[in-house]
């Protein structure tokens, strides 16, 4: 028996709506819905919503954004080291 596989077409169709309704990403003053509640609202089964949500969580940004994260942290860390240790020479270029 294979693992549950989501139909890519179903994913494309519902991805944005599931992301908007779910609680994966904190939203301001708007608690998210459970997978079951989303399923009821969209007319899908709960397992399908869970899979759409899990794939969509990872699908928001490309790998480039992970690389940008590295550069962001390198720079921000050095900025703070320079300030906290009073070592302006540590400031990144």
């Amino acid at each position: 028996m294979a693992v549950f596989k989501l139909d890519p077409e179903v994913y494309k169709c519902y991805k944005d709506e599931v992301l908007k309704l779910c609680n994966s990403f904190q939203k301001i003053d708007q608690p998210g819905l459970s997978d079951k509640q989303i399923a009821e609202r969209l007319g899908l089964d709960e397992r399908t919503v869970t899979e759409i949500r899990c794939v969509a969580e990872r699908d928001c940004y490309s790998l480039d954004e992970w690389e940008k994260a590295i550069e962001f942290k390198r720079k921000a860390t050095l900025e703070w080291s320079a300030l906290a240790l009073k070592r302006p020479d540590l400031k990144p270029e």
């Binding site: 994966s24 869970t50 992970w66 690389e67 590295i70 390198r74």
Partner: protein, 285 residues
Amino acid sequence: MADLPPGSAAKLKSVALESGATVCGVADATAFDAYAPEKHRPGDLLPGARSVVVVGGAQPREGDWAATSPWVMQTMGTTERIQGVGRRLAQYIESEFGYYALYVPPGTASGDTPFLSLMLAAELAGLGSRSLAGPVLNREHGFMYWSAVITTAPFEADGVETSPACPAPACREMWDRERTTPCLATCPGSNGGCLSGKLENGRAVRTFYDAARCNTRVHTHWVGGFQKVLEETLNEPDRDKRKMLLYGDFFTRSLWAITYSSTNIAQCFECMRVCPAAHGLREMR
């Protein structure tokens, strides 16, 4: 508290502090219902749950905050130390009081979703409040790691914190002067970052948060990064280029991170590093 001996909550908190927690509080299990979706409430995990005991502590040291490499904080993540206190409290509740006690697993229930929000638990247990940047900050100790135990024991609940640590006085001054705060200036949503917000009547108000981008920073060398490189590799037809991706620093570091830890360890601290309410700027020699 009818079913518990007098002073039970105080005794429990004292055991928590002796075990290494910096703070300990109790939330009413039903208080989660208004905020958490179903399956992520205490009673969903432990039917009959009446209280959630929350401990906080294991804060990074000044040396960790001042380190020149961002990989120090992610490698030295001290979250596991407070998790040990949570586990100990669960054992203590069962052996001392005879009630079910479920240590909230620090991992995820599905995808990136936790079993129970530890930040919500900390807020409801009166141990802190949400900062403009997101993490819950304790008024006295600032940024810390959290662990929680769901129990059927009816411990007396603490009230939520009424006076938030954020914004700190220094941030109010900066806002008056520059219309920004340290966290907003470090990770601005308007310039490739995750956050936007403002101070309104002395209160922090968040107006934008890119959680998906925040995820790429908090879990750079983690499950998400691993999946992204793996996908890139599978799509790469050239054998030599596949090798560069799999043997390269990004994939290697991700594997080190994943295989050396059984828990979610944060990998981005930049909004907290500059936050006066999170740890201040205590000078050391």
